[in-house]
């Protein structure tokens, strides 16, 4: 198994306060689907921000796709995030002034590496494929603020999936959906991840979703920092 994330003795604190995160060992392998949970305020979003390379941890070791993130240049981390990761927020995933299609294409437009060898045409074909699978192909020309919350979350998923990233991080993406929409969203996301062999880290405090995931991690269990 090929490790996507290899985390050792990672410590993180805001300013000089006591540690928020202190994780001795955590590894995620390629193609895994992980359910990460814990009460709010336990450092879930902070961990995700560190994994995405947006906030820098100074102590320990964090290897993402084999690249050491601790002490790495911001531009390197930005580029890895842009080209090989997808991120889905809890809500308000979309840039309000762009239409749905532009929102989905945005990461590929900003990071030429993510486009791989696709030209504009095949990029749009691929985008339509994913949109169809997520059942949003009929709203591509609408403005981001004209569609429902459920649609917005699926658009965000499509954006995260386009360009075949190795890792998708989803931070409570279903919390604004009702239970039917929640399961449908998960099904769609899973089938797309499997088709692309994408690793998924799914954060939620909703334990009813646990059953869909083969591996579960409670953050308070691996986090030695006591809050």
């Amino acid at each position: 198994m090929n490790p996507i994330i290899k985390l050792k003795n990672l410590k993180y604190s805001y300013k000089k306060e006591k540690n928020i995160l202190d994780i001795s060992d955590f590894t995620v392998n390629e193609g895994e689907k992980i359910f990460l949970y814990g009460p709010s305020g336990c450092g879930k979003t902070t961990l995700l921000s560190i994994l995405a390379g947006i906030i820098p941890a100074k102590e320990g070791s964090l290897k993402i796709f084999g690249t050491e993130f601790i002490g790495a240049k911001n531009s390197l981390k930005d580029s890895i995030r842009g080209s090989q990761m997808g991120y889905i927020f809890q809500m308000f995933n979309l840039i309000p002034y762009l239409n749905v299609l532009d929102n989905i294409l945005l990461p590929c437009k900003l990071n030429f590496k993510r486009r791989e060898d696709m030209d504009k045409k095949s990029l749009i074909i691929k985008c339509k494929e994913i949109s169809k699978a997520l059942n949003i192909d009929n709203i591509l020309t609408k403005k981001a603020n004209e569609i429902s919350v459920g649609q917005q979350q699926r658009v965000a998923a499509a954006r995260a999936l386009l360009g075949s990233p190795k890792l998708i991080i989803a931070d409570e993406p279903t919390s604004s959906l009702d239970s039917d929409a929640r399961e449908l969203f998960l099904e769609n996301l899973f089938s797309q991840c499997e088709a692309q062999k994408t690793t998924l880290i799914f954060v939620s405090h909703d334990k009813s979703l646990m059953k869909f995931f083969p591996r579960h991690i409670a953050l308070p269990d691996i986090n030695r920092a006591k809050l």
């Binding site: 921000s49 911001n74 580029s79 308000f92």
Partner: protein
């Protein structure tokens, strides 16, 4: 980068009102700057073209600028007159091609009345080689004939054949002493010249002498028996003195020796001034105001740009979500900074574009008004190289100062990480 401009423009469009107001304020400041420059050039052009092809202006010794002001611009008063004898002395000089005598001192409703002779209509030139032309009527010839400048005729609603009584001295409206006993008849109206000539009236030297014929010490004679208008004949009038005169020399070089001769003239304290030299001296004194105006307009542009920066800066708070999304999909510091710089460039560039457009529109609107009221002709010329440079500088400056909100945006995104605040 091109894609960033696309995002930037859509982001700006999302905030239409504040974007349009920002562009408008930059456009107004650019318009002011270019407008000031246009007016300045127009004023300078009109100013230095008031007189041309004249080699020397001669008058009583004193300030060169003052001589130019009262002779050419009809402003202020002469310190002293010069004698007819002296005038003739130089008129008959072999280096002199032509002369135009002027006798000043009277007015009509605030319009200067200038006494001169036929040479004025033959030799006076302005705006290069333009000469005085008649809209109606002919050269005033008789004692009580008067030719009116175009603007004066319209303003005072006078036409050919009207009689007017001149006021002694220069005064707005009715003066204390009016030459009621000797009315003048309008025999000509001049074509528009775009110079102070438009606002003046022209009579003959004899006419000027005639209305003051029985005066003593600057007041009318108490004993009025000689003052019968109709009895005075042109041939009988002996001209005693004039105020100043213009000289056209046979050649430019001889004008220098003529000037020396005039300045060294022993019999009377007179001086000769080369109009070009005095004009540029005069313009220099005026140019302080011009520089001040320019500095003010530069500050207005800077304030416009600061306004733009403030509007970008305050927009950031409501755009934290947008920035977090951009960061999440791989936008680094450079992309965030470039996005805001692109927005600033977009704003200032549109501002410049509209500013230029407003400026031309404004100039086109007030062009005729300025020409009529101030005699300033503002031409709708293309932007000069310097002005293009200046506009480019404005865009560059806006890109530079937009780094302040840009860096703030990036800092915000570092603080927020991937937690979304709305």
């Amino acid at each position: 980068m091109i894609y960033l401009f696309k995002i930037a423009s859509q982001s700006l469009w999302n905030r239409k009102i504040s974007t349009l107001l920002t562009i408008f304020s930059i456009a107004m400041s650019i318009m002011l700057f270019l407008g000031v420059e246009r007016v300045r050039q127009g004023a300078k052009e009109s100013f230095s073209n008031t007189i041309s092809k004249t080699d020397l202006v001669v008058g009583a010794r004193g300030s060169e600028i003052q001589l130019l002001l009262y002779t050419v611009f009809h402003m202020g008063n002469a310190t002293n007159n010069i004698s007819w004898h002296t005038y003739n002395h130089f008129k008959n000089n072999s280096d002199v091609a032509w002369t135009i005598p002027f006798s000043l001192g009277d007015s009509y409703n605030g319009h200067r009345v200038i006494a001169t002779d036929q040479n004025f209509y033959l030799h006076y030139q302005f705006f290069g080689n333009k000469k005085i032309e008649f809209k109606e009527g002919n050269t005033p010839n008789d004692i009580y004939d008067v030719a009116l400048g175009a603007e004066m005729a319209t303003k005072e609603n006078l036409k050919l054949g009207d009689n007017i009584a001149l006021t002694h001295g220069i005064s707005e409206g009715l003066g204390i002493l009016i030459h009621k006993d000797k009315p003048f008849t309008v025999t000509a109206i001049l074509k528009e010249t775009g110079t102070p000539i438009d606002r003046a009236a022209f009579i003959t030297l004899e006419g000027m002498e005639a209305i003051h014929i029985d005066w003593q010490n600057g007041v009318p004679a108490i004993n009025k028996k000689n003052a019968n208008t109709q009895k005075i004949k042109k041939e009988d009038i002996k001209i005693e003195q004039i105020t100043s005169f213009l000289i056209g020399a046979n050649s430019r070089i001889s004008s220098l020796s003529l000037q020396r001769e005039i300045n060294n003239y022993k019999k009377e304290p007179i001086m000769g001034v080369i109009p070009g030299v005095a004009l540029s001296q005069l313009w220099e004194t005026v140019s302080y105001a011009e520089t001040a105006l320019q500095i003010v307009s530069i500050f207005v542009v800077i304030i416009g740009l600061i306004g733009m920066m403030v509007s970008l800066y305050t927009s950031l708070e409501s755009r934290r979500r947008e920035m977090a999304i951009l960061r999440a999909i791989g936008a680094g510091r450079i992309v965030i900074v470039h996005l805001l710089v692109a927005e600033a460039i977009f704003l200032s560039f549109s501002g410049c574009l509209f500013g230029v457009f407003f400026c031309y529109f404004f100039v086109a609107c007030i062009q005729s008004l300025l020409l009529q009221n101030l005699g300033i002709l503002i031409s709708l010329t293309a932007l000069s190289f310097h002005e293009y440079l200046y506009l480019i500088f404005v865009v560059i400056l806006s890109a530079l100062i937009s780094h302040i909100p840009a860096i703030k945006a990036y800092r915000n995104s570092l603080i927020d990480g991937l937690s979304i605040r709305t």
